[in-house]
């Protein structure tokens, strides 16, 4: 009976939790597991992103800073802000170097089961950006909701992240520029490092899928296949990932490869 409930929970997480991943993410380990009460996590990343419009390249350097705090064992709050530096811009799009709008998110533990052989966690989240640093006339929000599930049998990790986002929701026009669905699966395995106490190497593989439904124009689907690895110690985590685009040439903006390098400090 217990196994049946577990199976149903997993299945429900896969079927019902349609949604996207928030934009500054990419390495999604821990997604369905809420951190401990009073836990503080600071995450610094560098993202090199190449996009193309026709023959014109656009290279951006994104530097998200994320602060996470465990309000209780059930509720986590997260604040994220991204600094964008434009490297090359051969397109007609106007881009400048600036801090993007802050993103505030709350995550709630829906289910957690720990046994000797596995851990299973499901968490729901909701968040939005706030147009406090946006200098443009139109003030927009990016509300997002989703459900994440994490399954940890032994040294393996499976993290399924789903979200649904209303992109650039304009409160005056009461409409968003697009709605996005994103599903992300990360698989990793801890490798104990002989001779190095309390450090773990975890090669990981992510599979991302996104469905973009703009208010005007055609919908498009694309994804990323992303190999990477993490080096984990009790208080510091180094992470790197290379996102290889799939089917992005059929979207308005042709995505190139993306390199993500990050550090996570855990207190």
């Amino acid at each position: 009976m217990k196994n049946k409930i577990l199976s149903l929970t997993l299945l429900a997480a896969f079927l019902f939790s349609f949604g996207i991943r928030t934009k500054a993410e990419g390495i999604s380990v821990d997604a369905g597991l809420t951190p401990a009460q009073d836990r503080i996590i600071v995450r610094l990343q560098y993202r090199n992103m190449l996009n193309r419009m026709g023959d014109n390249n656009m290279v951006m350097h994104m530097m998200p800073v994320v602060v996470v705090y465990g309000l209780s064992s059930d509720v986590t709050v997260m604040l994220r802000n991204v600094y964008r530096a434009v490297g090359t811009n051969e397109t007609m799009m106007e881009m400048d170097n600036r801090w993007m709008d802050p993103f505030l998110m709350g995550k709630v533990k829906l289910y957690r089961h720990n046994t000797r052989v596995y851990s299973l966690g499901v968490a729901g989240f909701a968040g939005t950006t706030f147009p406090v640093l946006n200098s443009s006339v139109s003030k927009t929000y990016n509300p997002v909701i989703g459900v994440n599930a994490s399954f940890r049998p032994g040294l393996w990790s499976f993290d399924l992240n789903n979200a649904y986002e209303w992109v650039n929701y304009n409160t005056e026009a009461s409409r968003s520029a697009a709605r996005q669905l994103q599903i992300n699966l990360a698989v990793s395995r801890n490798i104990l490092l002989p001779g190095i106490e309390n450090w773990v190497l975890a090669p990981l593989q992510e599979f991302s899928f996104a469905r973009n439904n703009p208010a005007s124009g055609e919908s498009s689907s694309f994804g990323f296949i992303s190999p990477g690895f993490q080096l984990v110690s009790p208080h510091v985590k180094f992470e790197t990932l290379y996102q290889i685009p799939v089917n992005s040439s059929k979207t308005a903006l042709d995505y190139g490869g993306r390199l993500i390098v990050g550090l996570r400090f855990m207190f």
């Binding site: 401990a36 490798i191 773990v200 009790p234």
Partner: protein
């Protein structure tokens, strides 16, 4: 070209086997430092708890932070490999099992059984 392909395939297979078969990589290695710390700590003031749900070194520090908040606890060492936490009490301190279990739960882990250390015959 074919030779290069075969070499790559061989390397991939060896890597995969290392991940899944080798006892060191598969998590069978002993947690030597952790075990040594247990041996050198005064057994009278030390309690051991099984803890389920830890899967990386980051989980260890989260649990240790919670347990060290208990009044009367001098130190705590958690091990995700051994699935347990070793708690050293201050001399004369009285800490209830309920308090320890509550803290383990606040770290989002599940307390297992309390492990009684072997008594010193001398």
């Amino acid at each position: 070209m074919k030779k290069k392909k075969n070499t790559l395939l061989f390397v991939a297979v060896v890597f995969f086997l290392l991940l899944t078969v080798n006892p060191v990589f598969a998590g069978g290695a002993e947690h030597e430092t952790f075990a040594a710390e247990k041996d050198t700590t005064s057994q009278e003031n030390v309690v051991y708890y099984e803890v389920f749900g830890m899967d990386c070194p980051g989980c260890q520090s989260a649990l240790e932070k919670q347990v060290k908040k208990i009044d009367g606890v001098a130190d705590a060492k958690a091990s995700f490999k051994e699935k347990q936490v070793v708690i050293e009490m201050k001399p004369g301190a009285k800490v209830t099992d309920e308090e320890i279990e509550k803290r383990i739960k606040k770290a989002n882990f599940t307390p297992g059984k309390k492990i009684e250390p072997a008594k010193n015959e001398e």
